[in-house]
Symmetry: C2
Amino acid sequence: MTARPASKRQQPEERRKELLDATMACLARLGPRGTTGREICRQAGVSHGLLRHYFDNADNLLLETYRTMGDEFLARFEQELATHRADPWGTMDRFFAVLFSEEWASSDMLGAWAAFWTLIPNRDDIAEVGESYNRRLRELLDRALSTLPPDPGGIERGDAAAILSAVMDGLWLDYCLSPTRLTRERALELYRITLRRIAPR
Amino acid sequence: MTARPASKRQQPEERRKELLDATMACLARLGPRGTTGREICRQAGVSHGLLRHYFDNADNLLLETYRTMGDEFLARFEQELATHRADPWGTMDRFFAVLFSEEWASSDMLGAWAAFWTLIPNRDDIAEVGESYNRRLRELLDRALSTLPPDPGGIERGDAAAILSAVMDGLWLDYCLSPTRLTRERALELYRITLRRIAPR
DNA sequence: CACGTTATGAGACAAGTGTCCAACAAGAGG
DNA sequence: CCTCTTGTTGGACACTTGTCTCATAACGTG
């Protein structure tokens, strides 16, 4: 039987990215149970043999997908923090606007993130990536809070960052789980109420 | 080949509960991917043929496990709310003490909950259970907040309940993901700071 | 004790999975 | 035009999974 190529030959990095994207889509649509090496390749439109040509094994692919997702999200935040330096409150607002945008807050995203959470207890390499992501996010948040004008009636900045981080996670989770129960506008409103009350001093 | 029983015959309800517990343990230890019907039975010490005798299929078992977990957690909260009626602030504290107890906040619990979250986007029956759980938890929280003496400088009770619910989820998630980064004492401290600042008026 | 009910075990089966591998095709460089 | 590297395919293999079926043991009831 001839091995005719169904899909054109591509640059290594392109194909790698395609597989990472397919993994992401797979996790979102089918959950961790449906995310098999073969299904990922099916989704990417390549034969299942190709996976091992780019990744040592299927587990390694998952790890890199996680790392990529985290990096992309942090980069988006970083960019928001870099621009509009003169408007610190606006920066915080834009943080949350991004977080609750269609791109970042969807049942698909929830599916993918939750999938990684389930892997953390069982896989040290994945736990490490998650640890690094959380640390960097916390730093970013702390940096953003430090640009706000101090509020005499406020609280310790470290406390504010930790609480705000928790509210971020919680509201995001709630919104993704049921956008009808908690609408985007309400989520943003709740965030603003919280920030105003726990502003750093 | 004779079919000698490795495990004694049991009352139907007992065996059912054993299978539900095994499912829970499986989700926690092995994640959704490792939680197969056969593995559950292996864990419970029964043959794999028995699963279909108690549950229509493997998916149904997952659903019932989710429902059981949610019910048990809400019952625990309800009980805390029923006792010590004279001490509303203490009730709130005990809410969070339970939430961050070893029984409820562990990487095992996180594994199990996250597993269900991954299933929600793909399965309507599981989504329904989650929806019901969230609604009842919110009601419970709102009821607990209503027993607090009104704070003139506070916020709408509905807002307070929503924010506190988000903080609950967020802190719990953070703590389960990394108990060393966010210790139990610090999580409880952060909760208290938050509640004091967003008390209902 | 006999008998019917049912909880339990164990095998058969098709389908799906991860890994490995040999062949082929598509370019790059001489 | 030939050759060498490498992206790509598709099949082979052993293994696991879910479902079904049947034999068998345990128990309740008469």
